[in-house]
Amino acid sequence: MTPSDRDATGLLTRPDHFVQLVTPAGERRTDAEFDPWVADVDTAALGRLYRDMAIVRRIDTEATALQRQGELGLWPPLMGQEAAQIGSARGLRDDDFVFSSYREHAVAWCRGVSAADLLRVWRGSAASGWNPYDHNMAVPQIIIGAQALHATGYAMGAAWEGTDTATIAYFGDGATSEGDVNEAFIFAASFDAPVVFFCQNNQWAISEPVGLQSKQPLARRADGFGMPGIRVDGNDVLAVLAATRIALDRARRGEGPTLIEAVTYRLGPHTTADDPKRYRTEEELAEWGARDPLARVLTLLASTGFDTEALEREVAEEAGRVAAELRAAITTIPDPDAMTVFDHVYAEPNTHLARQRDHYARYLAMFDEGAAASGEGAAR
């Protein structure tokens, strides 16, 4: 039997033995080490974390629907990973810098990226949706794990400049098999780079279970690189927030990198082009559905006497507004002009490309002139 024949995700990566502050049943657990880091999170603040998670879930379902309707070419859903993304992103300062993969829509939302800018790439209208320096968040990375090195280099630079800015790199469980991620661990540890490696172990790299990437919990790998590894319930927004704050604090104090493994689950497909029914079971889906990151927060809030019905009502309204904005944004994304394919290849003039651009412009102009001459513009 090869690892890929396994139908389960593997014993070692079952969601036990991790830090958890809110159970799936909505009970608050105490943790002497983690609790002080979220002591400021009162019921109102917890309500805001719920709001974030609910809104990004709605963004996600709306974008998935837009893809099904042909408005987007592709969409990588984040459903199930809301706590991992919101808990970590809400731990960041504005001046911290984010390097993400392609699934961190919730992180982008927290960084203030607009609905239209979120969709631009997936509609195929632009190579990137936003200016990284407007949001201190790099353009998303498709090559698996490449951004871990970028984050490390950025962090090295921030430290050399004498700032206490931290950098966070988001990647999945599959990325931990890539050389780039391992090399990033080495560089970060060797140079005490103020970087947080935030691994969302969502159990599946498209169809490959995490057991194929690793024989042991991913957080344990940190030890071999000389940095702490924290394994946290990635569906517990409070625990994720605490873990991220701990790691960021280490980074700011010049103590170097931390690896966080947020144990979570991708409830949807890898992308809208994927069919997860081929590789995972209904039982597994149901098991993880019962660990939903949103439901447990509501239950916890209700147990404290918080008016969760009002919260749900308000959040549903706001999520509806955001979803409508998202849908409306589609119409504001223009199809790019043909000649923009040549833009930004180089920062400085390039004689070769200038000639190629000129030739293509002449080619396109032939059609305009032909249309003008024959009066058949629309027919072309």
Binding site: V139, L149, G153, H352
Partner: protein, 336 residues
Amino acid sequence: MTTLTLGKAINQGLRRSLASDDKVVLMGEDIGTLGGVFRITDGLKAEFGAHRVVDTPLSEAGIMGTAVGLAYRGFRPVVEIQFDGFVYPGFDQLVAQVAKLHYRSRGTVRMPLTIRIPFGGGIGAAEHHSESPEAYFAHTAGLRVVACSNPADAYVMIQQAIASDDPVIFLEPKRRYHVKGEVDETASLADAKPMGVASVAAAGSDVTLVTYGALVQTARDAAIAAAEDGISIEVIDLRSLAPVDYATVEASVRRTGRLVVAHEAGQQGGVGAELAASITERCFEFLEAAPVRVTGHDIPYPPAKLEKHHLPDLDRILDGVDRALGRPNSLSGVEA
């Protein structure tokens, strides 16, 4: 004017760039305390400190990828790849990240990296130490590829590469590191010939011989030898392989009507193939003969005892010139 070796000229150019812009950082294996295996960064760590001249772990992807992050932060990293054949572990970061991030970010993120690669053979080295990887990079949109051939150019071009807002693959002809030449260290960079412009290394009228890097000297020697036979070769030092300064090459070919391109890299899909095709497209009516390529064979770089059979030398170049001129040559009588 001072007399410097090509290696020392690069060292002086790096020193001047480090001194003029504190965002310039050098990164690589053994470049700090040791000064690099070729000593190109000799003395720079002592002068500028360990955060400006950074000894890295042995990881080419790591060097390239962290340099990307530093560029994101506003630094201008100068990366040393120890030997040409070691660039491949960093290839993905180079062609998928360094080359594309400006495009991918719609011009908002600059990647002003300089990737220094000692390239080419002729030093009797072991495997992976004598390669000519330039075509991979010339083929990659977003990268500029330049090669220096003499100390004066090396001194200026390394500074221009570092000052460029685009990523530049900076090829150093390692077998020419110890060749001396005059360098004007006082001249202003603003007045220097742009690194994208080719040089006429020797004027001539019968055939245009285009090359770059270490072979420029071999081509000049060939021109001197050919002159004894009454053949006038114009040698063009291409300097920039991407983009190519076609204006200079075209002007020469329009006069001579004949083109020979020489490089150490293999023939298939190479810089010479591109030049031959482009010049044919651009000035076919001026050509008296088909362009000729004199290149390394399409083989892995051979063992040191065989490299003289791989590298174009003076006689192979002259044979190519004979082919372009229709004179008796090694392929006389061979059907096309």
